[in-house]
Structures are given as C-alpha cells and as structure tokens.
C-alpha cells in the first residue's frame, strides 16, 4: 500500500443527539399496561397455526392472520431455552456486567422472549432452568415492568 502524508489528518469529536418517540400501538399497549397494572403476562394465539406468541403481535407473520383479539393469559413461570452472559459494561445495557440475558419460554407460550435472569451465579446457568417473573416496583411502561426472572425455588 502506498504511504501518504497523514500530517493533516485528525479526529473531530462529535455526537448524534436527537429526540424520538415510540408509539406502542393498541396491542403493545395492552400487553404492557396489563403487565404493569395487573402483573399478568398476556400472549396472543394464532387460530390458524395454533402458536401462542409473546410478546404479542397483531398479525401472525407466518399465516398472515389477524390475531389481535386472541388474548391468552400466560403463566409467570417458564423455562430458559437459551442464554448468554453479558460480560461488558455499556450505558445502554440494563445491568452491570456480568449478568445473564436469557430466552425464556413461558408456560403456555410457543415463542421465547428475551429477559434478564438474576438470583443465580452466571457460571451456574443452564438451559432448562425453571424461572419465575419478578415484577418491577417502578414502572417504565416497557418490558422492564418485569424487573427480571429468577430461578423457581
């Protein structure tokens, strides 16, 4: 590679800072407000393929069926089907490292959802672990109204 004169090259510090808004919509709002006010986790069922989705969605993406009204109450317990240990710190992450992010299939659901698992040493985490939702005291109107999951005693 040819060398070139880099004496005029330097780095300028900058930032990208912009406001934005997210509208959860009817289905997403129902899911979160039910979680927040009733501490109940709800999914939706596709009558065509029989799958129960959580987090819920308006349309089954496989069957293109409108499933927005097919609410089913799910258990607040489930099983870890996969997980990873987050071992670095970043201001966007919900916890200090190390912490466990897991895919949890709630009892009664067909799709796993991502969440934090606490109350177990990351080194002892295993797939198949039975876990239970712990609800947050302070609402953020997000999925973090479930604060975390912990192993079922």
């Amino acid at each position: 590679m040819a060398t070139f004169d880099t004496s005029d090259c330097y780095v300028v510090e900058g930032k990208l800072a912009l406001p934005y808004t997210y509208f959860a919509g009817r289905v997403g709002s129902t899911f979160i407000t039910t979680l927040r006010d009733q501490r109940k986790i709800m999914g939706v069922k596709c009558n065509a393929c029989g799958k129960v989705f959580v987090p819920p969605r308006q349309t089954c993406e496989r069957c293109m069926e409108d499933i927005r009204n097919n609410w089913v109450a799910l258990s607040d317990t489930g099983e870890v089907v996969n997980f990873t240990v987050v071992r670095y710190d970043d201001k966007h992450l919900p916890r200090k490292a190390p912490f466990v992010l897991a895919m949890i299939k709630l009892d009664g659901a067909d799709t796993p959802m991502a969440h934090i698992v606490e109350g177990i040493d990351p080194e002892n985490m295993t797939e198949g672990l039975k876990v239970k939702a712990v609800f947050a005291d302070q609402t953020t109107n997000t999925i973090l109204d479930i604060d975390h999951f912990e192993p079922v005693k």
Binding site: L18, F23, G25, R26, V27, E61
Partner: protein, 397 residues
C-alpha cells in the same frame, strides 16, 4: 449512460395506501405497514404465498429504529421470503418502485412487493435530515429540509409579486385537489379569496417559505405490487405497465445558498435522458397526468419547467391559468401531492401508486375527468436527487 432494454415487461397489479395523518398512536410500525400490505394484496386478489420478494424502505434516522425491515416482518409479510431494504432519502419510494421493476424485469422474481413507510411523528424529521449533511461543515448550517432558495430564485427571475402569487396559486390548487382525496393528511379547504391574506399572515419558516407552502409531516405506508407481463395478465385485467424509470443522483456537496441561473438540475437532466430514450419530443402533450414529489409550493412551481423541459415563464403560465388542475392541460397531483401528505419513505411510492390509479381509472373522487394513457411520477430527495417513472395503459410503445 448505461441503459438496457428490459428483459421482460412489468406491470403494477396491486396498490395499497393507508390514510395519512399526523400521528398513529393506535398502531406500531409493522401494524401500520400491514394495513397497506393487506389492502394491496386484496386489490390484486393475491396472498403472500403469491409474492416472491419484498423490497422495503424508509428514511434512516427518522424513527430512530434500526433494521426496521427485520422487525417489520410482523406486518410486512416478508417472513421466509427474499427481502431487500433500500434507503435513498426522499427518493426511497421511487427507488423501491425502480428496484421492484428491475427485479421482475430481470427474471429473478415474478411478483415483487414494494413497501414504503414512515412514522414521522416518531422521530425528529428536520433533525434527522440535518444528520445527512457533512458533520465537519454542513450540519452546523443546514436547516433540515427547509429552504427558501426556490423562492429567492423565482422572485429574482419573475419579480416578487408574480412569483409570490404563482406559488400561492400552486398551493391553493394542491389543497383543492387534496380536498378530493380521502387519504389526505392536510386538506384545508382554501379559497381563492384567501390568497392575499395567506401570503402575508402564514408564519414564515425561512424567507418567503411560509408554513402554508411547506409539506406536512405524516404517518403512513404505501404498497405497490409489481408482476411480470405473463403473471400480470393473469392477476388483473387492468395492469399498469412500467415503461421506464431513471435515477439521477449528484455529488454530496449541497450547492446551497446560491442565486445562479441557469442551474443544471437533476430533474431536468433526468427528464431529458428519459424522454430522449423513449422518443418523447413533447412531454407536455404526451403525458396525461403527473404526480410530482413537491415538498413545497415554491419547489413545485419551479420544477414544472425542469420536468417538462419548458422555456422562460411557460411553467408560471400553466399555474396562473390553472392548467395544472384536474381538468386542465396537464393535471399535476390530483392526489394533493406531497404538501397534502408526506410520510417520507412512502411519499415517492405514493406518487407511483397515485399515477397508476389514474391510469386504471379508479383513483376515486380525485380521478381526473379524461382518460389517462400515459402518466409520469417523480421522486425527490438527498442532495437534490431525482427518480422519474413512466407508466402506460397499453403495451404498445
């Protein structure tokens, strides 16, 4: 210019548009898109199983959601299908239509669905656009998508009184069209006797660009389904044929804050190339309707000259004589255009969709009163970029 003949003909067979509005709190992004997807499928009489490929696009940094094509599979129908994401700023919708046309014409796919969307209420539009500019220089200077340069130029060339009246005439015509389009976001019911009042009382944004002149910030989605000639003829008895399209981009440096005429514009350059290779010598005679991406009344007025290769003040006269109204010589934006509704990533695709509906003759209350055989649709974006698409009723060119 590298230009090759199409491998096979391509027709538009399905169209879906949401109602455009200032905000949609009742749906998230994939849910909003799904409304247009469902409509387009129903319009074509197809299911997602008939669609081979989905091209999806919007303007980056407008909703602050990255990889929207991935999580939009919850509404777009792209689950398990080939899918591409495109983003070319304001021209995104035109690029989507052009890409879908190319994907079908090439023989790679028989049926391609193009999806354009934006939920501008979710982001900060002018802030997002400013981020497009060079961080070392222009971000400190660029005023988002707002500019009064067209106003300054028109005033320099045609005098203040004539230019301002023509721009407001253009604006009121667009509103009269928008009032007929049930999907419009903004339709005020402006009357001709409000002209003088609006020219002085509408809040100024930049120079002579006033709030009333400027496009809206809208939420909405548009879907257009393209199919090969063989498939199109099976799917519908009214396919709209895509004759040709052209894309012209220019260098990144914005040539802003100038007052130099004549300026070579991408619109004029694109129009000249497109008409020459399709043997169209008089575009004003040839086309029956034009759906223009007109972000403001000043730009819309100014650009008529470029798109139809007019001279002197011919474009001003077309507006002054109301020849761009639905029953005029060259109806422009029977839909009400971009000033009436601007969900940016969908906007240019809406131009194609609306032009196609005019060719089919089922645009609804804003269908122009005479038959439409040849339609033109434009897109605008980036640093003054252009996409132009020509649509035809018959396969006879």
């Amino acid at each position: 210019m590298a230009y090759r003949k199409k491998n096979r003909n391509v027709g538009i067979v399905g169209i879906g548009e949401t109602k455009f509005s200032s905000h949609r709190e009742d749906v998230n992004q994939p849910e909003m898109i799904h409304e247009a997807v469902r409509q387009a499928l129903d319009d074509a009489g197809l299911t997602m199983n008939d669609v081979d490929c989905v091209v999806h696009g919007n303007m980056e940094l407008f909703e602050m959601v990255h990889q929207p094509d991935m999580w939009h599979t919850l509404g777009s129908g792209a689950f398990g299908r080939d899918s591409f994401r495109l983003t070319t700023g304001g021209t995104t919708g035109g690029t989507l239509a052009g890409a879908a046309d190319n994907l079908v014409a090439s023989g790679m796919y028989d049926v391609v669905m193009a999806i354009g969307f934006e939920k501008l209420q979710e982001g900060h539009t002018t802030g997002g656009i400013t981020n497009m500019a060079d961080p070392l220089w222009a971000r400190k200077l660029q005023s988002g998508a707002l500019t009064a340069q067209a106003a300054v130029k028109l005033i320099t060339e045609f005098g203040e009184e004539r230019a301002r009246r023509a721009a407001m005439t253009y604006r009121i015509i667009m509103d009269k069209h928008a009032c007929k389009n049930p999907n419009s976001h903004r339709a005020f019911g402006l009357e001709w006797d409000q002209m003088d009042d609006l020219m002085t009382t509408s809040p100024p944004l930049i120079g002579e660009l006033r709030l009333i002149h400027m496009c809206s910030q809208s939420d909405g989605a548009c879907v257009v389904i393209f199919a090969s000639e063989e498939k199109a003829k099976q799917i519908t008895d009214k396919p709209v044929w895509v004759r040709d399209h052209i894309t012209v981009h220019r260098e990144e440096t914005l040539n802003l804050c100038n007052n130099y005429y004549p300026t070579e514009t991408t619109h004029k350059f694109a129009a000249e190339q497109l008409y020459a290779r399709n043997n169209i010598t008089n575009p004003l005679e040839y086309f029956d309707v034009f759906e223009m991406y007109d972000p403001s009344a000043w730009w819309g007025l100014d650009w008529i000259r470029d798109f139809f290769l007019l001279e002197g003040d011919e474009h001003i006269k077309l507006v002054e004589n109301h020849e761009i109204m639905m029953d005029g010589k060259m109806p422009i934006n029977p839909s009400g255009g971009v000033i009436a509704a601007n969900p940016i990533g969908a906007t240019a695709l809406v131009r194609v969709a609306e032009a196609a509906k005019q060719v089919r003759g089922n645009a609804g209350p804003h269908q122009i009163p005479r038959p439409v055989n040849h339609a033109l649709a434009s897109s605008f974006g980036g640093t003054m970029w252009t996409v132009l698409m020509m649509l035809e009723k018959e396969l006879n060119w």
